[in-house]
């Protein structure tokens, strides 16, 4: 039964992707992207990746769509047809490469093969030692924040740099003058979205906090929680308009959240070094190494959550606070 379901979902992915490429209306493409992400999340869930499914649903289907739409507002909604020349060459190249790729994947172990090389290297070590070393059950969180903590620190810095880049490119500093004037209306005059949104936001925030602090015991953690909390604030901004939203959660506070979150992560590493361990070796934080690791992981997950939430929010506001330039050509 599951196999029929997953074949169906995978085929739907291909159909959605084809529709995304074929449509000339970019608004339609953005909506299809959201559907694509949701299908992808369902596929991840079937493939036993609960944490990844949660991330894809929160980030891909939620935040990406909103950021995409707010960018479309500043550009144009219609695609003026593809490049005429070279279309057939492109199709031939793509078809040949697809066949080569499929031929190459025939050598891969089949789906679910327990003896595939990927399952024989470090994965058994992670599965055996997570409970012993960390004392909590979610292996994904353990690998993310402790076994491979360096990777995650790097990823947080990439998110940080991308958010700073968007702020620089879109010149999102606060100022006066017509180009900084913010759209104020939002959905204030629409009763139903406001009523429903007002009911949803507190529960979204609560769920975000649950995902943040329950990430060691169930699917979740800083990345997912940051995205969910950011979505709640973005919904508030969509309902009440930019001005009110920025009064509630200013640009400076968002920047402080990004900087604070990523420095909190780095600071934990430095504290570990000062206490005589190596960088990001949490076991030296407390007398009991297991408790020390748990404290370290909770703090760095908080840092990740803060950084991701601040980055996504400030990226959204950089797009949303910008006025479309009227072209006079």
């Amino acid at each position: 039964m599951t196999i029929i379901f997953s074949l169906f979902l995978l085929s739907l992915l291909v159909v959605t992707a084809l529709a995304m490429v074929r449509t000339t209306n970019l608004f339609v493409a953005a909506m299809l992207m959201s559907i694509f992400s949701l299908l992808m999340a369902a596929n991840f869930f079937i493939l036993d990746a609960a944490d990844v499914a949660l991330t894809e649903a929160a980030v891909g289907a939620g935040v990406t769509t909103v950021i995409f739409l707010s960018a479309l507002r500043l550009t144009s909604q219609h695609e003026r047809g593809p490049l005429a020349s070279g279309r057939w060459i492109a199709r031939i190249v793509v078809a040949v490469t697809a066949l080569l790729l499929i031929y190459g994947t025939l050598d891969k172990p089949r789906l679910g093969d327990p003896n595939a090389p990927v399952h024989l290297h470090v994965a058994p070590y992670y599965l055996e030692n997570t409970d012993k070393l960390m004392g909590f059950p979610n292996v994904v969180t353990a690998v993310l924040s402790s076994f491979r903590g360096y990777d995650t620190l790097g990823e947080v810095f990439v998110v940080f740099i991308a958010a700073v880049g968007v702020m620089f490119i879109l010149d999102a500093r606060q100022g006066t003058g017509p180009e900084y004037e913010m759209p104020e209306v939002g959905l204030k005059h629409h009763l139903i979205p406001r009523a429903v949104g007002g009911l949803l936001i507190p529960f979204m925030l609560l769920f975000g906090l649950y995902v943040q602090f329950h990430g060691e015991y169930g699917p979740g953690g800083g990345f997912q929680a940051g995205a969910i909390v950011a979505t709640a604030f973005i919904l508030y901004a969509l309902l009440e308009g930019e001005k009110t939203a920025l009064k509630a959660f200013s640009r400076n506070a968002q920047t402080a959240l990004i900087v604070g979150g990523s420095s909190l992560y780095g600071a934990v590493g430095v504290v570990c070094m000062l206490k005589g361990g190596t960088f990001l070796d949490y076991s030296v934080l407390l007398e009991d190494p297991v408790a020390g690791r748990q404290v370290g992981i909770i703090i760095i997950e908080l840092g990740v959550g803060m950084a991701v939430c601040g980055a996504l929010l400030s990226i959204f506001h950089s797009f949303a606070a910008r006025k479309p330039v009227v072209q006079n050509r």
């Binding site: 490429v21 609960a50 944490d51 891909g60 697809a98 990927v118 994904v140 169930g218 996504l312």
Partner: protein, 119 residues
Amino acid sequence: MSFADFLGHYNYVVFAVLLMIGFYAVIAKGNLIKKLVGLSIFQSAVFLMYISMNKVDGGTAPILQKDVVDQIYSNPLPQVLILTAIVVGVATLSLGLAIIVRIHERYGSIEERELLDAD
């Protein structure tokens, strides 16, 4: 190749097809936003390949269950790599969108042909 073999590789076939659909949009479409849409399909295809590799027969999500003996768990490592990549993906996608917004403000167009003509 038997039917069971085909089913075992169906995920990878979908991966290859999605990767190439995304690649086609990047090389054949003139609209810059459409190129980014293609790039994100490409990226999702890679995610799908990694997550397909983590599946183990009869396994479950890698969240340890204390009172269950001999439970098989799927591989946590590809999941961690992709989890962080998804969040980095949205951040880099918005960086691309920000550049496109500035190009549109400067040139009044996001079609590659018109941009090349304007320069």
